[in-house]
């Protein structure tokens, strides 16, 4: 199926939880989904026979400018039917909440932990949401564009980067 057909299918099924289809300025046409609906949309994408998205290739957090909403991007692939779709969910910077897909895709477990670690995005329903690359007591989420490193970490001075 093409991305347009998948978008039409999703819109018919989930109506207002599917926001729009972005085709400009991207090589992977992207369906914008309400952050709270990601879990059920992914369930549907994986379990419907004609869609059969059994593989989550990649999950990434993103921060555009340090002011607007954070986003999470899901790159999905069906290894059986060989079609692709990209999902995107926007979430508030301060009170970020996106529903977790860790129970649907095993890949998402660690990738969501990484997005929490580096962007501070909370994934509701994740079985064990904790930092993965940084230490538990690290302050802040470094990939946010407005991140300012603390002066010290466990008594060690953190070098300033320009």
């Amino acid at each position: 199926m093409t991305e347009q057909e998948i978008y039409a299918d999703l819109s018919a099924k989930f109506s207002d939880k599917i926001v729009e289809l972005i085709e400009a300025e991207t090589f992977n046409p992207t369906v914008v989904v309400a952050p709270a609906a990601i879990t059920e949309v992914c369930h549907y994408l994986k379990d419907t026979e004609t869609l059969n998205f059994n593989s989550l290739m990649n999950l990434a957090g993103h921060d555009t400018d340090g002011e607007s909403d954070l986003s999470v991007i899901y790159h999905l692939h069906s290894t059986e039917l060989d079609h692709y779709i990209t999902l995107k969910a926007f979430t508030n910077r301060e009170n970020s909440e996106v529903s977790s897909v860790a129970n649907i895709y095993g890949t998402a477990d660690w990738h969501e932990r990484e997005a929490w670690d580096l962007y501070g995005i909370k994934f509701t329903g994740h079985p064990d949401l904790k930092r993965i690359l940084l230490e538990e007591d690290w302050e802040g989420h470094p990939l946010k564009k407005d991140y300012v490193a603390a002066e010290f970490y466990r008594g060690m001075r953190i070098e300033k980067v320009k």
């Binding site: 300025e25 991207t26 090589f27 992977n28 059994n54 593989s55 989550l56 290739m57 990649n58 990434a60 993103h62 921060d63 555009t64 991007i73 790159h75 290894t79 060989d82 990209t86 895709y105 095993g106 890949t107 477990d109 660690w110 580096l118 930092r131 993965i132 690359l133 940084l134 230490e135 470094p142 990939l143 980067v161 320009k162």
Partner: protein, 373 residues
């Protein structure tokens, strides 16, 4: 069950441990000798690749890519270069494409040699390791000849190569290939069918296709489970559609499909296939062509985003790149294959003995540099 439950014990394997292939800690919950749960603790080699990338110009990111998967640096650079080229719509000279394939496949052989050798080492076979490193050395010599470096090359640039290959490179590569076929027969003799090795690896840590796909396991580890997905074939990039090669799959020749032995043997056979590709690419290599003719003066991809994936030695290497039209990327996310491959270890490793967990970990062939980035 009628079995006495001994007290559970937490055992830390690593971060400094010879069989963890880097700086990795496995938190093992053990019940006697049996491991009931494995929790990998990663991040010891985190070097903030993605944060750095957001502060560097596009061409300055290339060397960092190589440092992530330091055993397959050519492949990492290749993937990154292709992603940016696709964003910018750069057409490459034929000679560049062929040379890139030659280097990427030689790198795959070198990386698999380490995987095969260290896996043998993990389960107690020391000699094959030395043999594998002997051949890897020859490949590193070739890389040194072309790029000046042995491990981290910064050779594949966006839009081309750092410089053309020196005179004598093609002949020396042919020489290596002629020799290499015999070497593979040697590994098979000394390790593949070795009874002790088979006992340690066959039937151990069986990875089923469903679990593999669900956890995003890719590359040889996925194909060992019998899943025929190789991006060089299923989604051909560069010029891979011009070569004739097979995709080795796990067949369960010594036990079950998807066991540790299959993961080992798929890599051995992939080396043969890569050698075949290198030979074809050398045969067809165009003589004419400036490898720098397509390198852009200013690298400013148009506003937009891309997810581009390629088949690196360990599996699907994806780059998610967001550009805002400036010379510095807004976001570079590396979807590293070993990160997802390692995440499956509890699924296939629990219920086995501690020594088997070491075999399973070895068969997954991880590189901590790209897991932690």
């Amino acid at each position: 069950m009628g079995r006495l439950h001994a007290e559970e014990m937490i055992l830390n394997m690593g971060p400094q441990h010879p069989s963890t292939h880097g700086v990795l800690r496995l938190k093992l919950r053990t019940d006697g000798e049996i491991v009931s749960h494995i929790e990998p603790v990663i991040g010891y080699l985190h070097r903030s690749f993605e944060k750095h990338a957001e502060n560097l110009e596009y061409q300055q990111v290339t060397p960092f890519c190589g440092r992530c998967d330091y055993l397959a640096a050519m492949g990492s650079e290749h993937g990154y270069a292709m992603a940016v080229e696709k964003m910018m719509g750069i057409e490459l000279p034929e000679r560049v494409e062929y040379l890139r394939v030659i280097f990427a496949e030689l790198q795959r052989i070198a990386s698999h040699l380490v995987a095969v050798g260290t896996f043998g080492l993990d389960v107690g076979a020391i000699t094959p390791f030395i043999y594998c490193f002997r051949e890897r050395e020859l490949i590193l010599d070739l890389f040194e000849m072309a790029s000046g470096a042995r491990l981290l090359y910064n050779y594949i640039w966006i839009g081309g190569l750092a410089h053309d290959i020196p005179p004598g490179f093609v002949e020396k590569t042919y020489e290596f290939l002629d020799d290499f076929d015999k070497r593979i027969a040697e590994y098979n003799q000394i390790l593949t069918g070795n009874k002790i090795f088979v006992e340690r690896a066959a039937d151990v840590g069986v990875l089923t296709p469903e679990v593999a796909i669900n956890y995003g396991v890719t590359g040889p580890s996925l194909r060992a489970s019998g899943v025929n997905i190789d991006l060089r074939r299923t989604q051909p990039y560069s010029i891979y559609d011009r070569f004739d090669f097979d995709i080795p799959l796990g067949e369960g020749a010594q036990g079950t499909i998807g066991d540790s032995w299959d993961r080992y043997y798929v890599r051995v056979r992939e080396m043969e296939e890569s050698a075949k590709i290198v030979r074809q690419a050398l045969d067809q290599l165009p003589v004419e062509g400036d490898v720098k003719s397509a390198v852009p003066k200013r690298i400013r991809p148009p506003k937009g985003e891309i997810y581009f994936r390629s088949e690196n030695a360990r599996g699907e290497l994806g780059y998610y790149i967001v550009s805002n039209g400036k010379n510095v990327p807004l976001r570079v996310k590396m979807r590293s294959p070993a990160f997802s491959n390692l995440s499956v270890i509890n699924e296939i490793g629990h219920g086995w003995m501690i020594s088997d967990v070491i075999a399973i970990l070895g068969s997954l062939d991880i590189v901590l540099g790209e897991i932690d980035r």
